[in-house]
Amino acid sequence: MIKVNNAYKTYSTHDRREVKALVDFSTHIKKGEVVVIIGPSGSGKSTFLRCLNRLEEIDSGEILINGVDIYGKKVNINKVREDIGMVFQLFNLFPHKTVIENITLAQKIVRKRNREEALEIARDLLNKVGILEKEKNYPSQLSGGQQQRVAIARALAMHPKIMMFDEATSALDPEMIGEVLDVMKKLAREGMTMAVVTHEMGFAREVSDRVVFMDGGKIVEEGTAEHFFTNPIHERTKLFLSQIL
């Protein structure tokens, strides 16, 4: 489903430091697979996700999604993105729109669904993430956990084939992390293809098929969550896990 071949990506920070975010990076995510990406900050895990829908561009290499080279000249990136849902650390809900409008906007203007259809899909999803009663509220009236669940519903409304989560629970108060993770777990069990950047090892253990540990733009080690808990091989992995567990 997602194939990354020899991707390179370097960016410069505000103080003009060059950061190697992806170095000869290759991986393959199969349909229905749930991949958790962990690693220290600056290791390139967010960049990896953001290059998958071209919010950022790789310098060289190729990324194939369902066999389509998304960096190809003739590719309509907007079409590609319709199939890839993304959930952000800071939710990025549209503050000037109500919850229901947040979920129907892109359905109407991108998927060209009519009002009734879009509303029906939106309500279904709000029900699924458990906040149907908040549909007329504005994002600012919701807790962080509720906002993130709306953001997930907004992405799902496009009926994506892949969902990406970029530290979706990192900005939440501890007591709200659970409600968001529950939605993500439900999604994983339904067979959604997922790429999840997170530090929630409990989530990884419960639903992930594979955990990827990144550092310095490379995959240092990958395997099942169980493997990471029981016998990580590399020193760097051990050190990192000892800090987050």
Binding site: N53, L55, N78, K79, R81, E82, I84, G85, M86, F88, L90, N92, L93, F94, P95, H96, K97, T98, L105, A106, I109, V110, R111, Y138, S140, A151, R154, A155, M158
Partner: protein, 265 residues
């Protein structure tokens, strides 16, 4: 409720300042014979307009006619100022260096030359080439002038919106234009209402400069009336008051809009 109370207080303070100044001017100032009774007929009068149109009726006086024209000029150039401003604001943030360069050149050129000179150039130079009427030339000059300032305000407004908003929109499959139209601009415009209001209040006042190309706006009519009657102070006070009506209404309207739009905060 608070809306009415607050604007009443503002009005009362304004009236107080004017009354005090007027009192000192009349009693302690120069000798001047006031003819306030001549002012109402410059606003409205009952009678026949001319020999061709002898049926008497209620007609607008010269100052009211000027007021209406100033209002027209201000409304038209505000609308075009917003349109130009939005285009320029977006162009200033373009990835395309040529677009960015042209829009920056426009902003710098307009902001760094006097409006009066721009009006002359547009009326006498561009206007005579394209055979523009004084009204078209005047409103064009004011729109182009306002557009440069509004462009900078719009640019700042867009830049103040968190980049996550654009990323979220694009990741949902929206094009850049769709994201701008449905997500970024509505938020940016809401945020820039206060500086925009200031800009358009300035525009109403700056519109007095079009009197130099013989556009019969309120300033022009006022000057003519003064030349005719020598009721200098009465007329200019009235002119100032008529400007005040327009600008004060605009600031009240924007405060109302601001409060209405604060719902989602």
């Amino acid at each position: 409720m608070t809306f009415n109370k607050r604007s009443l207080i503002t009005l009362a303070i304004l009236a107080g300042i004017i009354a005090t100044a007027y009192y000192f001017f009349v009693t302690k100032g120069i000798t001047y014979i006031w003819h306030w009774e001549k002012v109402p007929e410059m606003l409205f009068y009952y009678g026949s307009r001319s020999a061709d149109d002898p049926i008497p009726g209620l007609h607008m006086g010269v100052l009211m006619m000027g007021f209406v024209l100033t209002l027209k000029i201000s409304i038209v150039s505000t609308i075009f100022g917003i349109i130009i401003g939005i285009i320029v604001g977006i162009a200033r943030l373009s990835k395309e260096p040529v677009t960015r360069g042209i829009s920056l050149a426009y902003v710098e050129l307009i902001r760094n030359t006097p409006l009066l000179v721009q009006i002359f150039i547009i009326y006498f130079f561009v206007g005579s080439m394209l055979r523009l009427s004084a009204f078209v030339a005047g409103t064009a000059a004011l729109s182009i002038f306002a557009g440069a300032y509004v462009g900078e305000i719009v640019r700042a407004g867009i830049q103040s919106i968190h980049k996550g908003q654009m990323e979220a929109s694009r990741s949902l499959g929206m094009s850049y234009t769709q994201a701008m139209r449905h997500v970024i601009l509505p938020q940016a415009l809401k945020r820039i209402i206060p500086p925009l209001a200031g800009q358009f209040i300035s525009l109403i006042k700056d519109s007095s400069l079009v009197s130099v190309i013989a556009l019969a706006d309120i300033m022009f009519q006022g000057q003519q009336a003064v030349a005719r009657t020598y009721y200098t102070f009465e007329i200019y006070f009235t002119v100032a008051f008529l400007y005040l009506i327009m600008t004060f209404s605009l600031s009240m309207a924007t405060q109302y809009i601001e409060r209405r739009m604060a719902i989602s905060d």
